[in-house]
């Protein structure tokens, strides 16, 4: 590593942080280096935007353990039979060959913030001037008593897309008429707020397609209400009457435990037995964020709302599900939006390019039944305390079929658009 002056920063919060930005582009040695940990919707977008916009002026490295990335968004459509697994799986070849990003397919083990190096699982080190941490979520298995990583082989969570998603699909496809599925929904905050309820819709669609008239899907929810509740409830009554039962905490009284041996979910109210149990436990920022000291007591990472800069380290930015992004939900769209703000800020600091005021946006589409899509979305801007919603919208109950179909078709176009924006062409 060239002799870069080591600096230690006081912890700086909020708007004052940018005034401390150093003119790294004035450094004599080589190009400034930006390293991104995590090649999902946030990390890959950030790497692509920095490489695309800075050209030869930045050295961009993307560290991602897996050679391919399966998107969590649209994975419910795979469960419902609308998409193939391949169609939601993407590689990093374009980022490497068309944008000049160094893609490292290996596991990052920890961050040496003092030395400004990412320490890889094999002990090698990747130095950085700026680091973007985008590890997504880790599951807190023991937030549901009786649940564990091993239990997830029997009661899949499928909340990180990949082998778990395939496992859940195989188990779903094996369900027979007369059997019951139980979902244990996650507490806030979690990845993809409408996701569990879209998933239930896709399960019901699958059973309906097969002509099953005696299947039940029971949702045990630790939350008293959920995203797009009115829209989902309306759709479930319209398409799947009698098939889906939702129990909030005031009814079930609390989730006592799950038993992978018997397929039972015990609550204060009753014990529910599922032929398939989908447990989505509580979540926290990906492990490396915690080991790098970027998280607070919530398990997620406080950031400066104007830049996505970590409140714990001036040289580190945290984007996507791992961050505490104020009013923004944890979604691929949010991560993609936050990545652009972080990329612009970093490029400005390291190359002197112009930095504009941060803007963020999000839209989440959900499919309830074939050609019946709904959406919720908002725009956001930084306030002194948080990323705050400035305007929002949601689909209405009772919309006509043509609008719902257009919303679904739009979501398919969005998928193509955002995955192109993330992984490049």
């Amino acid at each position: 590593m060239p002799n870069i002056t080591r600096r230690t920063f006081g912890f700086v919060v909020g708007a004052g942080a940018t005034t401390l930005a150093m003119p790294y582009y004035a450094r004599a040695q080589g190009k400034p280096r930006v390293v991104v940990i995590g090649g999902g919707a946030g990390g890959a977008t950030a790497a692509r935007y920095m490489a695309k916009d800075a050209g030869e002026d930045l050295d961009v490295t993307l560290i991602e353990a897996n050679p391919q990335y399966t998107t969590c968004f649209f994975s419910n459509l795979y469960l419902g039979g609308y998409r193939s697994f391949d169609s939601i799986t993407h590689g990093y070849d374009n980022l490497a060959s068309n944008y000049g990003i160094t893609v490292v397919n290996a596991m990052a083990d920890s961050v040496d913030r003092e030395a400004r190096e990412v320490v890889m699982a094999d002990g090698s080190k990747v130095p950085y001037d700026r680091l973007i941490v985008a590890p997504g979520i880790d599951l807190i298995y023991d937030s549901v008593p009786g649940y564990s990583e091993e239990a997830a082989e029997v009661m899949p969570h499928a909340w990180k897309a990949g082998p778990q998603t395939k496992l859940l699909k195989a188990r779903l496809d094996a369900i027979e008429n007369g059997q019951q599925v139980v979902m244990v929904a996650p507490p806030n905050p979690y990845r993809c707020p409408p996701g569990p309820y879209e998933r239930v819709s896709m399960m019901a669609h699958l059973f309906k397609e097969k002509g099953y008239d005696d299947c039940k899907i029971v949702i045990i929810d630790p939350k008293p209400k959920f995203s797009k509740q009115g829209l989902f409830t309306e759709g479930w009554e319209k398409y799947y009457p009698g098939m889906i039962e939702w129990y909030g905490p005031d009814v079930h009284g609390g989730i006592a435990s799950v038993d992978p041996q018997t397929g039972e979910v015990e609550t204060d109210l009753d014990t529910f037995r599922g032929d398939l149990v989908n447990v989505i436990p509580a979540q926290k920022a990906g492990m490396i964020a915690a080991s790098a000291g970027l998280t607070n007591d919530s398990g997620f990472c406080p950031i400066d709302p104007a830049s996505m800069r970590s409140q714990a380290d001036e040289n580190i930015f945290v984007i996507g599900d791992a961050s505490i992004a104020g009013d923004m939900p944890k979604s691929g769209f949010s991560a993609n939006s936050q990545a652009k703000v972080a990329a612009m800020t970093i490029r400005g600091e390291l190359t002197g390019s112009k930095v504009f005021p941060a803007k963020y946006s999000n839209t989440c589409w959900s499919l309830i039944e074939t050609n019946d899509g709904v959406k919720v979305g908002a725009q956001y801007a930084p306030s002194a305390e948080k990323i705050a919603s400035t305007s929002s919208f949601i689909s209405q109950t009772g919309e006509d079929d043509a609008l719902r179909q257009a919303t679904y078709e739009e979501s398919v176009g969005w998928y193509k658009g955002i995955t192109t924006d993330i992984f490049g062409t």
Partner: protein, 252 residues
């Protein structure tokens, strides 16, 4: 031929057979679609077609003095090679098919209008398609009547002095650098390449049309929740900048 999704090639040895087959089917179905002969126009009803064309008018002009807008003007359309009007930014796909021999006539238009994205994969035209064959025949008849007129002397997207929504932004010089920054919010859905896969293409539009549409969303003249929300916080300067930036891009 690139069109893997196109059921019938627009030229080559299959064309005539396909046309005949299609024609026979149409006749069997009691419809009056015929081969691209002059007779075709008489079978459709141009007056009904004028009503159908209302769906096309926000992007296409036809008749005396027509100019390019979001879509190319349609004067002289029949018999013209696809993708060749000067001053209009066609998709690469449209230009390529034109070079390979796609010529607009009643037959090819009928197929294109039925499923634009299947007939010309990669087209910038953000139109799902016209499923009703009667509508297609009528609108083609209307176009055959109107497209004989001469377009404007300079049909490139024009500077019509129209008092309209967004006039302030239209009078501004948009900053493309600012527009590029703002565009990152748009390209999560709208592809930078100009492809329209369920989300409209917004690349290479004339500035005035771009500005007008955004103001139509902003003032709820057009109803689309995402676009209404997106434009809520955009002012004249932002909208002019976005128009300048996206207008400067070439579709691929």
């Amino acid at each position: 031929m690139t069109g893997s999704g196109r059921s019938k090639p627009p030229q080559g040895p299959f064309r005539f057979e396909a046309a005949l087959k299609r024609n026979a089917q149409a006749l069997a179905a009691g419809l009056c679609f015929l081969l691209p002969l002059p007779a075709t126009a008489q079978e459709g009803d141009p007056l009904k077609g004028e009503q159908v064309f209302k769906a096309c008018k926000s992007c296409h002009q036809v008749g005396a003095g027509a100019r390019n807008g979001v879509g190319p003007h349609l004067d002289g359309l029949f018999g013209r090679q696809a993708g060749v009007l000067d001053g209009f930014k066609y998709s690469g796909a449209m230009k390529k098919l034109g070079e390979e021999g796609l010529v607009w006539n009643a037959f090819t238009l009928n197929q294109y209008l039925e499923k634009p994205r299947a007939y010309v994969p990669g087209t910038r035209m953000s139109f799902r398609g016209m499923t009703n064959e009667g509508d297609r025949i009528d609108v083609i008849a209307y176009l055959q009547a109107l497209s004989k007129e001469a377009p404007a002397a300079d049909p490139r997207a024009g500077t019509q002095a129209r008092a309209e929504i967004g006039a302030v932004a239209m009078g501004m010089e948009g900053d493309p650098e600012f527009g590029e920054y703002l565009s990152s919010e748009c390209v999560t859905c709208h592809q930078m390449s100009g492809r329209a896969d369920g989300i409209p293409s917004i690349v290479g539009w004339p500035s005035q049309a771009f500005i007008r549409v955004l103001f139509e969303y902003k003032t709820n003249v057009r109803s689309h929740q995402v676009m209404q929300n997106m434009t809520t916080n955009l002012g004249n300067e932002e909208i002019a900048a976005l128009a300048a930036y996206f207008g400067s891009l070439d579709p691929q």
